[in-house]
Amino acid sequence: MSYPSMLDKLAHRSTAFALRRAGLISLSLLLSTLLLVALAALPSLWPQQFPGLHALSIDTDPENMLAADEPVRQFHDQATADFAIHDLLVIGIINRSDPDGVFNPASLARIHALSEYAVGLSYPATADGSGARQTERVIGVDILSPGNVDDIRQDGPGQVTFSWLMPEPPDTRKQARAVRERALRIPMLAGTMLGRDHSTLALYLPLSSKTISWNVRRDLLAFVADWPADDELHITGLPVAEDTFGVEMFYQMAISAPLAMLVIFLLMWWFFGHLLLVISPMIVALVSALSTMALLIISGNTIHIMSSMIPIFIMPIAVLDAVHILSAAFDSHHQHETRADTMQAVMTELFRPMLFTTLTTSAGFASLALTPIPPVQVFGIFVAIGVLLAWLFSITFIPAYFMLIPEQRLQSFGHATSAGNDRGSWLVRSMQLCARLATTQHRLIMLAALLMLLLSVWGISRIQINDNPIKWFESSHLIRVADQVLNDQLAGTYMAYLQIEADASDDLPALRQQLINALKQQAQDMPASDAAVMQAAMQVIRSEPADELNDWYQAIQQQLSDQADHSDQPLLWEDAWQLVDRSRALQESFKQPAMLAWQLQLQQALQASEQVGKINALTDIVQTVYRELLGGDDSAYRLPESSAAVAQTLLTYQNSHRPQDLWHFVTPDFRRSNLWVQLNSGDNRDMEQVIASLERFLQSHPPPQPVSAKWFGLTYINVVWQDKMVHGMLLAFLGSFLIVLLMMSLLFRSLLWGLLAMLPLTLTVALIYAVIGFIGKDYDMPVAVLSALSLGLAVDFAIHLLTRTRQFYRQHGSWAKTVPQVFGEPARAISRNIIVLGAGFLPLLAAPLVPYQTVGIFIAAIIFAAGMITLLLLPAVIQALQRPLFDRLSRRQEDST
């Protein structure tokens, strides 16, 4: 038995079963859905009672677009731990009405209170947090606020003073202004804490985990609720944007998805005029989406930004099949005696195209599992599962549901081809127009398509790849406003960090020889008894095996130190120790003035980029303290001349209230330096430019000793995952494209027919991306993901049209006779789908989150483009290629009979 007839048999049997056991099917659909939802919901609601089951876990961290063992993430984790760097919440307070801006006693008092309040904020760690911490909190010791940072300044001749910049809120206007004037003298604060003018002051709250950003923001906003309107509070920063997006995304899910369903429902009601009947596609869509999400939770996957979009992808695809069935039934019901006859006939015709579309669509999505991005893999696999479920429910439940409606209530249902039914007539007429156009103007249509394709190539070449989580919010969103206001006033609210690591000397034998030579030289001018100590010290150095630099020095110094503490010539041993320690200190690269001077050049080079508002680094601390040691004159703002002078400058700094601040900028071994780069834009494109300017600097300015430079920080991580995402999605899409082509060719048993089926998809994607290129919309995460959706939608229309064409051609043996039939019921089904789904997702445009708007407009655009191309271009191409296409078909027909 050949597979076409096998398929027909399967179609017949499954439909017969569905019609016969309508109640059983409906009941089992209900029960299986309830079971899946229960398995997902129970452990989420009562985790203690159901320890064996996976609870719902939500993860809105874009960082997790990269696998946890991704090198860039591992380095980020390591470097943030080594430099004790935390994600920062940036709070800006702006007063535009007071002549002194925020630097007036009342505003400063409020800011002081806010800062004191923020220090104490802590929250229970989330249940799924694997960390050992019970609570996540604001890291009080590292807060940057006027009350928490040190001011270093001259206090009389030859006197340096360290004091809190603002230990208590000032009483007078003069004192308040003085706070700003003092802070301006500290380069680490200007631009970071102080705005461009006196209107603005910023606080930086380091968080033990960015997962509390939303809570911290909420509580801070509540705290300032009674502030006068003149003191505007703005909160931004990538952590809060990402966390807030995650929270709002779920609210949006709860609003947008049902709203889309409602519009789809109303449109179907309008089309088919039968309230009871159009509930069934809603049930299929709902049950498919629910079951898939339940499976996702049960299988222990987290709900991520990507996977939260699964329902939005499954629902239109699920509705597609149902609309095809209802549309066919609507158009043919009047021709049949009973509802069972109608359904049997409809299903026999539609079974094949629905199966084909389901297989190709789910294969297309499943191939996303080949991307290197874990959330995309999960997304692809579960959409594929959802599509299969939707198909299964469509071919069983829709016929069953049809049977459950009493015959007399279906009386009104159906479209009579006779004139007088005005509801269908415009559709009929426009499809007839389509048919005429496609067959008579096929050359024009193909030429237009070719031109559009060429135009698309140009448009696609103009695409800008860029993303910025802050821009996921609408421009009127408070976070977006804060972003704009603060990046205008401050150096920048986007943090990137650059670690520069000096390569450790690996030439231990040479170091050893230097040490021995130096000791020999000292021993020369000594009396014999003293020289003997030097000899013994040399022996210590010689006998210590040279493995690792730090260990080697430590082992030698320990031995010399023990001798100094216990021998009867402690001073000589101490001399030897000091000599070794001076050698060791040479390895402390970032105490060497030459190295610091080079780093300063690097900072200046980076700072030349307009995206870089400011860089805070070790060099700033050294120069500031050095200036104050030398009397505080601006001309003294420079690097000391020896490494010991650097060390002693830093010792002075460490007498402040916050000695630990130093270790954000250099490791205690002074081999790794960290530059805190404040960017005024979170656009990946801008970060990429800064990365490029670093590369250029490294090329043109070789450091005094070999170094390696590595970026970390959220702004940088976003660049990395976006890069992976864009390339990964491109490859995945090409892979899906090939798989769909292969499957179509196999199912149609002809490469030519397969290629034909790919035409709408290809042109749709090309057009959509061309438009993105032309209008200058950034190619960002949602856009990248949405290319996959065109797989499911565009291929569906093409398969239905082509399968039905082949079916009708087999009956008539003539393309001319086939055309009117194809543009009858099948074309009307496609049109109804275009209208239902295209309009159905437009409510997403009202969502305050940009990715949702993108999804809405994308679905509509994909559907309209794919639909039009399917209805116009495909028949036109068939018209042109009649002979090769139908020759293949009839040959095959003869084979199989």
């Binding site: 809190w164 040691l629 060390a647 010792l651």
Partner: protein
């Protein structure tokens, strides 16, 4: 003169007598808070006319990375007496902290003139810049050379800055709670000291801040005595640790070659001697 003052005077006299006796035999049950804090103050900061110690400082950060510093600390009291009576021991002091290690801090000197009734004077000598600078701190609660100890922990906090209360007595310790008289001058809201009953060494001092979520307060800082030796008949802390609990860092100070009554001349604690260190007292 009221009754309480009279009683306390008597008690001081009694205590002073007892002080001369071996400590184990001391009956301390009648001591009042003021007594305890003064005895503890004496033991911690004022023993002998002067003192010298070599201090090994190990600073461990949150990541477990250690930094070592070695310095010689010279101390001289203006008072010649160690007597508690009439607080005779209590006087201005001078400290001379001479850095030995690491090599790039060698010969750096930190000098303090601790005053009883005025701001302290502090100097820093940076040999590689050949620079003497007075370091004026508006408060004394900033880091001592980058360690977890505050400058005030090293030189001692004036007793009358806080209200002291004996909150409980255990078999071994007096447990005191001290509250600052001027809360805006310090970062703590109170601290709790465990003063050893026989030696009067404050074995543990824990610093607290008010916390709206915790009635018992938020403990963010803790000093712990790790080792005590008797040197020249004086119980002496030879190892002490300070933990900054929020920052996750700690510093251990180990004292070697502790010596009392060295005979340090007053004039070595002078600006002149910052540049030319008094070598004979630093060996």
């Amino acid at each position: 003169m009221n009754i309480i003052t009279m009683i306390s005077r008597v008690l001081i006299a009694v205590a002073a007598l007892l002080w001369c006796l071996p400590t184990a035999a001391t009956d301390n049950s009648a001591l009042n808070v003021e007594e305890i804090v003064h005895r503890a103050n004496l033991i911690a900061y004022y023993q002998g006319k002067d003192g010298r110690a070599e201090v090994q400082m190990t600073i461990t950060d949150q990541q477990g990375r250690e930094r070592e510093r070695r310095m010689i600390i010279l101390r001289r009291d203006d008072a010649d007496s160690d007597a508690l009576a009439a607080h005779a021991y209590l006087s201005a002091q001078q400290y001379y902290v001479y850095f030995q290690r690491p090599a790039d801090l060698n010969r750096t000197v930190f000098m303090v003139w601790k005053q009883l009734d005025s701001e302290d004077d502090r100097w820093l000598y940076l040999p590689s810049l050949d620079l003497v600078r007075r370091i004026a701190a508006t408060d004394k609660r900033n880091s001592f050379v980058g360690s977890d100890f505050y400058y005030e922990d090293v030189s001692g906090r004036q007793l009358d800055l806080d209200e002291h209360a004996l909150i409980t007595e255990t078999e071994q310790y007096y447990v005191l709670r001290s509250t600052p008289k001027q809360a805006d001058q310090v970062e703590f809201d109170w601290y709790v000291s465990h003063v050893h009953k026989s030696t009067f060494i404050p074995v543990q001092i824990s610093y607290y801040r008010n916390d709206p979520n915790k009635p018992e307060g938020h403990k963010y800082r803790e000093a712990t005595v790790l080792q005590v030796e008797t040197i020249q008949g004086r119980p002496t802390v030879t190892r002490a640790r300070m933990q900054s609990l929020d920052a996750g860092t700690e510093t251990v100070m180990s004292y070697r070659r502790v010596e009392y009554d060295v005979g340090l001349p007053a004039d070595i604690f002078s600006e002149r001697h910052l540049r030319s260190a008094p070598r004979q007292y630093l060996r």
